[in-house]
């Protein structure tokens, strides 16, 4: 495995008692939470996450949440789905409360080299949240940035008819995500059900259609975040097309800083033998080619 990408990110971690600046429910049982956490906001890179504590009587462990956006180098915006006691407690936070947050955590996307000619972001459901800062970072760098989202649920983000041309899909597949379109990202949504403005099929079908289209085929780099099966398929498509692919893996986590070894990801080691590395330190972003996709 290419260790240069997976060196333990022993970067400083900040802990902040972060006042809640804004909190609002989003469609589909999602929540948007903005925290004043300047140390995290100043240093967070795309693909990194924070680990947020909720009151002890709600949950013992912190909750790892991807950073959606930062504002004015002072605020961190988190989008999450309420799935259990921890996220439910977090969604109950009110303006003026403080939330105990540590971060930024994890390696984040590697943006140090030459930017890709074309960047293709592939998200399953709420996997879009950590891809937003990536789209922001790639703006004006990649010649073209695309986002494909597969979802069967109501999207928690604002949608609209796209004003950007997409030759690789029919003209009536034109629903976009406003936040991403504002960055110049061509965004399209896939669903297995017939829905107006959406591509009918799997998000990976949409990706394949894009990669096979003569006008858009080329030197693309793929970035993916979503359910395991979706990322596994995406990794296979990338390998088939000989394209680089980075995946952001979301694992059950303990400490978030590398001490407890809970968030194990099985990768191919240097000698070809399997080895478990930590999603919270060596990840959460991995080269799809080193992940053992049969491990789950």
């Amino acid at each position: 495995m290419d260790m240069s990408k997976h060196e333990a990110s022993g970067k400083p971690v900040h802990r902040e008692s972060a006042p809640v600046v804004a909190v609002s429910p989003l469609p589909g049982g999602h929540c948007r939470l903005v925290l004043r956490a300047p140390a995290v906001a100043r240093t967070a890179r795309p693909g990194q996450f924070v680990n947020v504590a909720v009151p002890l009587d709600s949950a013992m462990l912190r909750r790892p949440l991807g950073v959606y956006r930062t504002h004015n180098q002072t605020d961190v915006e988190l989008l999450f789905k309420v799935v259990g006691r921890g996220t439910a407690a977090l969604a109950q936070a009110r303006e003026g409360d403080t939330v105990d947050v540590i971060g930024p955590l994890g390696n984040g996307f590697d943006l140090s080299g030459e930017p890709p000619e074309v960047a293709v972001l592939v998200a399953g459901g709420f996997g879009i949240a950590p891809l937003y800062p990536l789209a922001l970072a790639l703006r004006h760098k990649a010649k073209g940035t695309y986002l494909f989202v597969g979802t069967e649920e109501e999207l928690p983000l604002e949608t609209a008819d796209s004003r950007m041309h997409a030759s690789f899909v029919d003209a009536d597949v034109n629903l976009t995500l406003t936040d991403f379109e504002e960055l110049g990202t061509v965004a399209r949504v896939a669903s297995l059900r017939e829905r107006t403005g959406l591509f009918r099929g799997l998000v990976t079908d949409l990706l394949e259609q894009f990669l096979l289209h003569p006008e858009t085929a080329g030197r693309a780099k793929i970035y993916a975040c979503g359910p395991w099966a979706m990322m596994k398929k995406t990794a296979a498509i990338a390998a088939h097309h000989h394209l680089d692919c980075d995946v952001l893996l979301e694992e059950r986590m303990g400490c978030g800083i590398g001490a407890c070894m809970s968030c194990a990801v099985r990768v191919k080691g240097a000698d070809g033998q399997p080895v478990y590395v930590r999603a919270c330190v060596e990840g959460p972003v991995f080269d799809a080619a080193v992940v053992d996709w049969e491990a789950k």
Binding site: K11, P12, L56, A264
Partner: protein, 321 residues
């Protein structure tokens, strides 16, 4: 007046009676990423459990949350004794870390335990060896060494002959005979006891209808286990507390909890799972413990150790005899 918190466990002088238990603190490097992490407020660091050969660990999921607790099954993932002694310990020494380090060792046979202990004995910055006797005894049907006095004796005796470092036996609560096991460990050469290790537990995912952890069962820690841990420390102190000091642990989140363990008979406490939500817990607990002891009029921590036994039925019998 501030109570003297110094304590001595098996010859390790600790300025602070709060240690971080094995498995919650990695190999001592990760928490240093917090700018405000104060290692001087930790009595000792028990390093991640180490085996003779590198261990891959269990497949994920390895962790699940439970009411007031955490269930984990990491599977002793570690790079093996050789790599720890050769790479990690010198790095810790160079980093300026002065907190006493306790090597936590595991194995499948008494010989393997002994060999791991031997490797650590040559390291200049290991203060003591803690023997994790909760591992399955592979030669005897997988029952934990620590479940029976005889198997515990075999492991501790083997390690005792392999090293001159102080030995701490880490006791498992997953036995009906913890007092017998504690006595057997001391008889075989253990200088101190740490307790309790995690309780065996299971969570079943009702959607997949399978155990949630890939290992099926895991070790339960956190406040859920605290009353069990306090009871075990109380019971073991009552029986063998005069022969070996106890490091008490199990679900401590604040100074009140730590004080309970001291009163039950612990001479030091371990603060583990709570670190995952509060890395300042050891320092906060040490400060809070000093306040408790001051308020109660204890001049030294050692005066409070086992104070909950005062006037107990057992003690009255002792006084009569």
């Amino acid at each position: 007046m501030t109570c003297d918190l110094r304590t001595n466990i098996a010859g390790i002088e600790m300025g602070c009676p709060v240690i971080v238990p094995s498995g919650t603190f990695g190999f001592g490097e990760d928490f240093a990423r917090f700018a405000d992490f104060d290692q001087s407020r930790i009595g000792a660091i028990a390093l991640k459990g180490t085996t003779l050969k590198p261990k891959l660990g269990n497949p994920p999921p390895r962790i699940a949350e439970t009411p007031a607790g955490v269930l984990n099954a990491i599977g002793l993932q570690n790079p093996g004794a050789e790599a720890v002694v050769r790479d990690i310990l010198p790095r810790l020494a160079r980093s300026g870390l002065t907190t006493p380090l306790i090597a936590n060792i595991a194995g499948e046979t008494p010989d393997e335990y002994a060999e791991v202990a031997r490797r650590f004995s040559d390291a200049p910055n290991i203060a003591a060896i803690e023997v994790n006797i909760s591992c399955p005894n592979v030669r005897h049907g997988g029952l934990a060494f620590g479940a029976e006095p005889q198997a515990a004796t075999e492991v501790i005796s083997a390690v005792r002959t392999a090293t001159r470092l102080p030995l701490i036996a880490k006791l498992t609560p997953n036995t009906a005979r913890i007092v017998h096991v504690a006595r057997a460990c001391i008889d075989a050469g253990a200088d101190a006891l740490s307790m309790i290790n995690t309780l065996v537990g299971m969570v079943i995912d009702i959607v997949s209808r399978r155990p949630l952890l890939a290992n099926q069962t895991g070790g339960l820690s956190g406040p859920a286990v605290r009353p069990v841990a306090v009871a075990k420390v109380y019971e073991v102190f009552d029986a063998v507390g005069h022969r070996a000091p106890i490091i008490g642990m199990g679900g401590i989140v604040d100074a009140d909890d730590a004080y309970q363990f001291i009163l039950a008979g612990a001479s030091a406490v371990g603060v583990g799972t709570v670190l995952f939500r509060n890395h300042r817990a050891p320092a906060e607990i040490a400060a809070g413990l000093a306040q408790h002891l001051d308020l109660a009029g204890f001049q030294r921590l050692s005066d409070a150790v086992g104070a909950a036994h005062k006037g107990s039925h057992r003690q009255k019998l002792d006084e009569l005899s």
